[in-house]
Symmetry: C2
Subunit: 195 residues, 2 copies
Amino acid sequence: MSLVSQLMDALQIMPGVGPKSAQRLAFFLLQKDRSGARHLASILNQALDQVKECQQCRTLTEHNVCALCSNDQRSWRQLCVVESPADIIQIEQATDYKGRYFVLHGKLSPLDGMGPSELKLNQLIDILAKPECQELIVATGSTVEGETTAQYLAGLAEKGGIKASRLAHGVPLGGDLEYIDNNTLAHAFAGRTHY
Amino acid sequence: MSLVSQLMDALQIMPGVGPKSAQRLAFFLLQKDRSGARHLASILNQALDQVKECQQCRTLTEHNVCALCSNDQRSWRQLCVVESPADIIQIEQATDYKGRYFVLHGKLSPLDGMGPSELKLNQLIDILAKPECQELIVATGSTVEGETTAQYLAGLAEKGGIKASRLAHGVPLGGDLEYIDNNTLAHAFAGRTHY
Ligand SMILES: [Zn+2]
Ligand SMILES: [Zn+2]
């Protein structure tokens, strides 16, 4: 197979990229913006080599501890739990939250074999045991699994004597956080309901 | 700037990829399919290193002469001129054309300083001078520049004593070839009108 066809195939691993758009992307990269394409290949390789999970919050970073976790201006009094690193970016953009984060990298889904130990929640339990920690903000999506996860985490917090809260309604039902506009998200964040 | 942010920026060189989809793509590549991402980076680099224009038809290939041009089953009696390498893929998929191709890499656009010499049409004139060559099929788009280019190429063919044809109406007005479905294209190709 020609390199151009191989490139079209390789581009189709990306979500939303079918044969037609892979073709367009391949010719764009090879004809219109070769230096941009070179840069993309190099940054992608570098990121694949160096980016891993933050030892503390588990977001993606090339450092052992991410910039948010290294920022000692952020308070340990609030801990916000999200499903994925993308959710942190959204909450940072939409709100003036100044607490800490924890990334689940998934949600509880017993039918798919995703239980508390698969999500490695021990690390979360350790953070909740910190004396400074006063509120657990559960910012999982409002899918069935997101709600199940939220219930479970609220239970964990309660056991630890910590207040748990959940984003206010405003998060569309059945939707992942990723697709919500900043205003809705800011509103839901500010109006989070306490368990 | 973090490597993850740099990757999001680098992804945005691609047409149709805004900040939001760059973010989704970056997390997908770093979390969901790292081996696919590694393969993509490597193929992209390899393609950037090796892919160049075919010496004969000017489509993109890693060889000096592309697979189509090297195929001696293809007849020199018909030469099909297209704007871009993507158009060749479409015509090959949609029709049973067995002739040769020539890629313009653009279209005549005097206002933008794109004249016959910028399109390096000498190479095309040399091919038209081949005694086997009997028909020039002009498969440029039906944009204003596409039509101007077609007129010019038909003139060139006439000077060389060669029949020129143009894809039949059926190509939507004002549209580039790239966005046409295979059926319309096959129909337009078969029903091409002679000058
Ligand atoms: Zn962190
Ligand atoms: Zn060729």
